[in-house]
């Protein structure tokens, strides 16, 4: 755990922090509200942040409204995490010219500071670092974008109804993976942020900020806030979920979920760790051709298409693939869970399918089942 180094005032401090980031040449991105939804977008100053706005979420339900305080970062989570900043939804990855030379388009990305990244999304970027950069298969396009990203995390004081990061061990406070992290405190008539640095770049920025030394009572308040946030989460993933999904391959519950599942792929699109893509070759009349990479999903039949047809034609098979990969086989593949507990798949599922609820049903089904020789 990185120690807090500085206390900055809410308004003046945030303003200065953004100015310092911009002065260092970073594009500044942060929470913005558009079309009734909190999302990540360009921000010019701290005044652009949806201060005092909060989100109410549930299965298939997201609404923004005014909260009871003028705090900046309570109960908000952007619709999509950092995924599109490091891994665009679609882009040309190769260009073919008339003489059959193949060129790779340059990655165009100005250094970008993302302001107000939640612990779950920081954890998701850590997962992407493994997925896209684990040797020997390094994705240069991801790497270029990731290296241009500066992460200013913010600890969660009030979680959403759909959050369950505490049970995934990824939050509510960010412990690693950020350049700077903020904790918003508004006790005893003062409103400001504890600031800690998690990288050399972060330490350099921190050194430019005006603030005060951190007091013991602020550290205690921060700890209490983290405990309260974790305790406020009503959803949780079973601790043994990886083993549960591995043992549930033939569960009848997959068909029950599939009767509700639209196979629309929204869960995979909003998931900050879902990384599947498809590639397609396109050409224009002028003789140029290019290869396009586009986000795809295990909920698409075409995604598993091989000679003769899709491997996972049925909806139960596709839901099972998503959940067992995310929570089970991800461990075998990358040595960690693929779920960070952000709850987006619950909130943005049009019919409100809840991955934590389905995991609990599978776990309960296993407990009820009589153990046989084959179980492990």
């Amino acid at each position: 755990m990185v120690d807090d180094s500085l206390w900055i005032e809410a308004d003046a401090g945030l303003r200065q922090l953004l100015a310092v980031l911009q002065g260092r040449g970073y594009e500044t991105v942060g929470l913005t509200e558009q079309d009734g939804c909190i999302t990540l977008g360009p921000i010019a100053s701290a005044d652009d942040l949806p201060r005092g706005r909060i989100m109410d979420t549930g299965g298939g339900h997201v609404r923004c409204r005014d909260g009871e305080s003028d705090r900046f970062f309570d109960k908000t989570l952007p619709m999509q995490g950092l995924k599109r900043f490091v891994y665009p939804a679609h882009e040309a990855v190769a260009q073919f010219d008339d003489d059959l030379t193949i060129t790779t388009p340059e990655v165009e990305m100005r250094p970008t500071a993302v302001f107000g990244v939640r612990a779950c999304d920081v954890a998701a970027i850590d997962i992407f670092d493994v997925v896209f950069r684990k040797p020997p298969y390094t994705d240069a396009r991801f790497a270029a974008r990731r290296d241009g990203l500066l992460i200013v995390a913010v600890d969660c004081a009030v979680p959403l109804e759909t959050c369950f990061c505490a049970s995934m061990g990824t939050g509510p406070h960010a412990t690693t993976g950020f350049d700077l992290a903020l904790t918003e405190l508004s006790d005893g008539g003062e409103h400001g942020f504890l600031v800690r640095a998690g990288s050399a770049a972060g330490r350099g920025i921190l050194a430019e900020l005006d603030g005060e030394a951190v007091r013991d009572d602020q550290v205690a308040a921060k700890r209490a806030q983290a405990d309260a946030a974790a305790a406020a989460m009503t959803r949780s993933m079973p601790a043994n979920v990886a083993s549960v999904v591995r043992q549930s391959h033939d569960s009848p519950h997959w068909s029950e979920v599939a009767s509700r599942c639209l196979t629309c792929a929204n869960c995979t699109m909003v998931c900050p760790t879902c990384f599947c893509s498809t590639v397609e070759d396109r050409n224009a009349l002028d003789g140029t051709a290019w290869r396009e990479r586009r986000w795809d999903s295990c909920f698409s039949i075409e995604f598993s298409y091989i000679h003769g047809g899709g491997v996972r034609e049925s909806a139960p098979a596709r839901y099972r693939q998503w959940m067992t990969h995310k929570l089970g086989h991800w461990h075998d593949q990358f040595g960690m869970s693929g779920c960070v507990g952000c709850g987006r798949c619950i909130a943005w599922c049009p019919v409100g399918i809840d991955i934590t609820a389905e995991a609990h049903v599978l776990a309960a089904d296993l407990e009820r089942a009589v153990p046989t020789m084959g179980d492990n």
């Binding site: 939804a89 629309c264 792929a265 699109m269 397609e280 050409n283």
Partner: protein, 255 residues
């Protein structure tokens, strides 16, 4: 010899053919790459078949059309149906589940002048179709990409994942989740480029059912949102009402 392109119209509003004329920037290049051999919407010049590629708009709604489509098929090396009418029957297929005689009398002063079939059906119900482009109207980029693919010997690959995928690729907030607006997006094929949700409207299902449409689960969610049975029925009874998945859902709601 340039490939010969023909564009045919059956029962339809001409909107899909207009999409070809609306290509604007690309239109001259397309006209350069192919011989436009038959396209009455654009030119009265016509060249006899056979044709390399035929784009077919409209549904089969009259006895005459039923014969004519066979003729078109015989003359076409590749036949591509374009739009909701040609691929699903179109809005006129609403008549398929009603009394045709009564409808004719209600609409026309002299119903005896009308020589129409009792149903409006997609082209594929009558002849073999090589590729289909969905939509009401079709999407210009999909049309150009399909023509490019056919001209260069590449397989056209229109995707039939849900419309939701296009919303999420574009970063459009879900209108159902954030506003409670009933939206056919989760059961409708992608392809339009996210037109209606991007302006705060629910999807109308113009591109027809997605590859695995769970219409019952979506209808159940509409009910949760407080949408009445008749309204749920009418949501599915749009431009692609006769596409099997939507037609079945219409029946479940008293249609």
């Amino acid at each position: 010899m340039k490939p010969k392109l023909a564009v045919w119209k059956f029962s339809s509003c001409d909107g899909c053919q207009l999409t070809l004329l609306d290509c604007e920037d690309e239109l001259l290049a397309i006209a350069d790459a192919v011989e436009i051999a038959y396209f009455l919407e654009a030119t009265r010049n016509r060249t006899d078949g056979p044709y390399d590629v035929s784009l077919v708009e409209g549904s089969i709604s009259t006895p005459h059309e039923r014969e004519q489509i066979r003729h078109v098929r015989e003359q076409s090396r590749i036949l591509v149906t374009i739009g909701a009418c040609a691929t699903a029957g179109g809005i006129q297929a609403l008549r398929n589940t009603r009394d045709h005689g009564a409808l004719k009398s209600a609409v026309y002063a002299r119903p005896d002048y009308i020589d129409a079939l009792a149903t409006a059906t997609p082209i594929a119900a009558h002849v073999e179709v090589d590729y289909e482009l969905r939509g009401c109207p079709i999407d210009k980029r999909q049309l150009i990409d399909t023509l490019m693919a056919l001209l260069s010997g590449r397989e056209p690959r229109p995707i039939h994942t849900s419309q939701c995928v296009e919303c999420k690729l574009a970063g459009t907030a879900c209108v159902m989740v954030t506003q409670g607006i009933p939206c056919l997006g989760p059961v409708t094929s992608a392809g339009c480029g996210n037109l209606c949700p991007s302006v705060g409207r629910g999807c109308y299902g113009c591109f027809g059912p997605s590859e695995s449409p769970n219409t019952q689960a979506l209808a159940a969610e509409f009910r949760e949102l407080g949408v009445e049975e008749a309204v749920i029925r009418d949501l599915f009874a749009g431009f692609t009402c006769a596409a099997p998945a939507f037609a079945e859902e219409i029946k479940r709601h008293g249609g």
